[in-house]
Symmetry: C2
Subunit: 354 residues, 2 copies
């Protein structure tokens, strides 16, 4: 398995995920025929898309730390995508989001099954219960995939230390995010802190450290990956903030302006509220969390945020964080070919449109 391009790595991750979930889905169908909808829904959800950033960063972390290219390492890194599947499935329940990647959210899919099958009781409750359990299953599977990756016990033990921290940070980052919405006030410092937990650490720094731990790296590599990963993670999250307000629904797979209706207290929103004139500020504040916002009203809020200068400020900050991130690689002793892949993915992660 030679060192290759980002798209080969991604293809490898897809294959490992598809292999694993097809084995597990078959096992479920054997336990009980009534588990077919669970097997189908969860395996389709996991194999149908997603950018695979976290396993890719993990594998680059592994290679960057001097790990030999191997299918086992690729398989171990793919475990991160199962944690992410749990996060997305549960997130959609918590947000009440109906769709993800242009498909119905898992709770909506099971709600529809309830209605179509004329089940008794509440279809909504059935959908939510199913989604909670499918998310739990994906989270449980994440350990399973790592354990059976074929990496040595020592490598798995090292990676597990990072894996545990990463999952805890994800869960508490999600909680703080929900809490921020409930507190109902925007504060750029708090929003940055949460973005740092949820993206800086969870999406980029921890995956790189996970891979480095798999490879048995020394502390210098961990430090380089933090210097590269933390600013990049912030930039990644800022891009998410921009897409959550200005994204094209055909590309993102989520309705345009979703973050406004969900009342998300993002860094972008904090910037807009700090810079907008009083009447625009009031307008933005009252739109946040209004789930009935019309398309016309959404457009007005988008314009208000744009005119506050927050969109441009966000773009400038992304560029600055990206530069900072890439600078960290220059002096590091990460192999040149891995450096160029890390540069390529940094650009992808911050300049994406979905």
């Amino acid at each position: 398995m030679p060192l290759v391009g980002l798209s080969d790595i991604r293809d490898g991750i897809e294959k490992e995920l598809a292999d694993f979930v097809s084995t597990r889905a078959n096992a479920l169908r054997e336990i009980d025929a009534y588990l077919a909808p669970v097997a189908n829904a969860l395996s389709q959800y996991i194999v149908s898309g997603g950018k695979r950033f976290r396993p890719t960063f993990a594998y680059l972390g592994y290679l960057g730390a001097g790990g030999e290219p191997s299918q086992s390492a690729l398989r171990a890194c793919s475990a991160l995508e199962l944690v992410h599947a749990c996060a997305l499935i549960h997130d959609d329940v918590m947000d009440g989001s109906d769709s993800r990647r242009n498909m119905p959210a898992i709770h909506k899919r099971f709600e529809s099954q309830h209605i179509e099958s004329n089940f008794s009781g509440s279809a909504e409750r059935f959908g939510v219960a199913s989604a909670i359990l499918l998310g739990d299953l994906a989270l449980s599977w994440s350990d399973w995939l790592l354990d059976e990756s074929g990496m040595s016990n020592q490598a798995i033990t090292r990676a597990n230390q990072v894996f545990q921290e990463m999952r805890e940070e994800l869960m508490v980052g999600q909680y703080l995010d929900v809490l921020e919405g409930a507190l109902g006030k925007s504060n750029r410092e708090r929003s940055l802190k949460i973005a740092n937990l949820k993206s800086g650490k969870y999406s980029i720094e921890r995956p790189l450290h996970f891979g480095a731990a798999l490879a048995g790296a020394d502390s210098a590599i961990f430090k380089t990956f933090s210097e590269y990963g933390l600013p990049l993670g912030q930039a990644f999250q800022l891009r998410d903030d921009l897409l959550g307000v200005f994204g094209d629904s055909k590309v993102t797979g989520k309705p345009s302006g979703d973050d406004i209706r969900e009342g998300k207290r993002t860094v972008l929103i904090a910037m807009a509220l700090a810079s907008a004139n009083p009447s625009s500020r009031d307008e933005i504040e009252s739109a946040l969390g209004n789930t009935n916002l019309s398309e016309v009203e959404t457009t007005r809020i988008q314009v208000a945020i744009e005119e506050s200068g927050a969109r441009a400020e966000c773009e400038r900050l992304i560029d600055q964080l990206l530069d900072e991130s890439l600078d960290s690689l220059k002096e590091s002793y990460v192999a040149a070919e891995v450096k160029s892949l890390l540069e390529e993915i940094a650009n992808l992660a911050t300049k994406r449109s979905s």
Copy 2:
């Protein structure tokens, strides 16, 4: 650490759980002061009670397979209680249950926090989101506790194979249970199959196998534990069915007749529907899932189930399964002192009143 009685084992488990959650709770408070409610709620939930059957069975499995009594093994076995905490927290969200162990369910606790703190948005939604995330955190912590138990990498790897199967069976057992309620018809075969997955395997057989795997047991021990654990697990679940209908709320910590209002399709209910006269059958059927059932109506249903003969049939079946379970130990080469503990806990698990 000498081989001791069940109450010493239980005390040891309490201590390991308290140690672990206090370390993690402090770590959360250090990540962010706003995480104090999460740290407090989850650590109180985990340390405040529960019968600790699963870690106890696991430790007995470890000892029965010839493992040396050790704090590390006790710590590793305590990981099972964290999986169970996730199951209970999520179960209460799915069932819409307001209390657990005479305390508010986690989603209710966070719903109250929302109301008392005058947060914005829906208090119910905030409660549900928090409970989903706290359950996810408990599930993630279960691996963490096993990993840092101090057992060897080899022992952890062996135990993990059982752990993975166990968690998958738990999640799919829960799903099948929810589905059975939605299908809205009782079938003794199906109910038994689900009880077997949820209790036979999850609560008893798998914990014993987990402990046996930690100790590096041979296949004869695994077989003995299946023969002991599966009938015992069924008896354990039948006791749960009886307590869910006839239990004393002061002892169980749940309102009396909770299973009727939740519409649970248990083996007991299937027996009652099969044996009751037509008018009682209709009465029971229409009460199942009626969340507004009054106390008087609940008593009428309890009487109808009793008069159908199902309660007595259930008790007879419990006795029979318990005998079957204990018989399996006679010819086995489990050490005599562990055998007597397994007999003691089998009686406790099937004759309990909460």
